[in-house]
Amino acid sequence: MSGKVLTITSGKGGVGKSTSSANLALGLALSGKKVVTIDLDIGLRNLDMILGLENRIVYDVVNVVEKACKINQALIKDKRTDNLFLIAAAQTRDKSAVTSEQIIGLTNELKKDFDYVILDSPAGIESGFRNAMLPADEIIIVTTPEISAVRDADRVIGILESNDKTQVSLIINRINPTLVKKGDMMSKDDVLQVLSIPLIGVVPEDSNIVSYTNIGEPSVLHKDSNSGAAYKNIVKRILGEDVPFMEITEEKKGFLQSIINFFKE
């Protein structure tokens, strides 16, 4: 088997890289693919918590590349599916604890046994980002519809282009239809006009994400979650299915609901 290395990155911090990594990794695993995800945000690890696996960490990615343990010992199996494994970041070290050669070596090993190796990149454009970007076969950029996030994404795309990374696609996260309609937020098309790379998904703003993160259950596990549905569509697109983009609209108001609202007022 020769799997694919998929890197999730963004430039700016806090736009949803780890949340996207967790959802896509879990979504791909639930679709029957064998997936390992590696948290490369060494020193500021989060992915273990978002996946609800923080209690199970014994060995981390630094232990693996320093050969203090075998790869198998650092693979933390997910509690919901046998298809998903996590290699956690080290919390007591920093980005300089690993080199890009080491990460390329590790992903080459993992590609033999897994369909997808998902690398969760740290924010920024320094060594941690380079370690995550260099081994990638495909890269997904996450941005929010804010000018600062879009500009950072643009910078990252420029760096990827100069490193001959051509398989790059975009997730626009936290779109708020009410604000877009009012003209206070960039729309999907505004973002695409600046970045001009293929879109792979649009994820609506979802206030439940905070609680999903707190309990360690990514939104793809929640049937009624808007963001979960969007991530499931992205998973299908990664798997090569042609899924139309959902029209993200304001909260659904049926005919009955509008009558009820009318009488409430």
Partner: protein, 222 residues
């Protein structure tokens, strides 16, 4: 014969001109023309010239050509109305400036210039794509941006105050021409409506950098 033409343009690479009106006929004729000339349409700037009748098919034609490995950089029509495409749409009246310069030497950059990137050239510079925020372009001659200009341009770098800057959509935070510099007014809309944008030219007049619409500038020049 003559419904689909490929013309060599010294300045802008190649232009595919389509006069046929039926989409199936267009595809058939394109197939014939391309089979003999696909090799020189790769890795160059290719524009697509459509008529008022067949501009509705812009997206289909571009997709068809993409499948043949030919990227279209811009669509040229007489009137933008009712024409939709994922590449810049240029109205013919906005391209005279470029046509005038046919035959002159210019450096061409194809693609988008990203945040943090810089281009420096001697002579004129044409960017066939967008110049994004926080990128820099320097040319000792004129600068033509066939796309959105959001980065910082410096035309006439080294002291040529006669240089001009042209862009389909001009929105840079600063403009530098020769020895002059000006900055964009600080109040104003951050999210500019791109579809309403029209081509503009920046130049030095009486010691100030002035921006006019392309048409006004043409009138002044005469």
């Amino acid at each position: 014969m003559g419904k689909v033409l490929i013309k060599g343009k010294n300045f802008l690479g190649f232009e595919i001109e389509i006069k046929a009106e039926d989409i199936n006929k267009i595809k058939k004729e394109l197939d014939i023309v391309i089979s003999s000339s696909a090799h020189f349409l790769k890795n160059t700037i290719v524009t697509l010239k459509l008529t008022e009748k067949n501009k509705l098919y812009a997206k289909d034609v571009i997709k068809f050509l993409n499948e043949k490995d030919i990227d279209i950089n811009a669509v040229v029509v007489a009137n933008k109305k009712n024409c939709a495409a994922d590449v810049p749409i240029i109205e013919t009246r906005n391209i005279h400036l470029l046509a005038e310069r046919e035959g002159e030497q210019a450096a061409t950059f194809k693609g988008n210039l990203r945040n943090g990137q810089t281009i420096r050239v001697d002579g004129d510079l044409i960017v066939a794509g967008n110049v994004n925020s926080n990128s820099y372009i320097y040319a000792t001659g004129n600068i033509f941006v066939l796309g959105n200009l959001d980065g910082i341009p410096h035309a006439g770098y080294g002291g040529n105050n006669e240089a001009v800057i042209f862009a389909f959509s001009m929105n840079p935070p600063q403009i530098r021409i020769g020895d002059f510099i000006t900055r964009s007014p600080e109040e104003g809309v951050k999210i500019k409506n791109r579809n309403a944008a029209f081509s503009e030219v920046a130049y030095v007049s009486e010691g100030n950098i002035v921006i006019s619409t392309y048409e006004e500038w043409l009138k002044l020049k005469r």
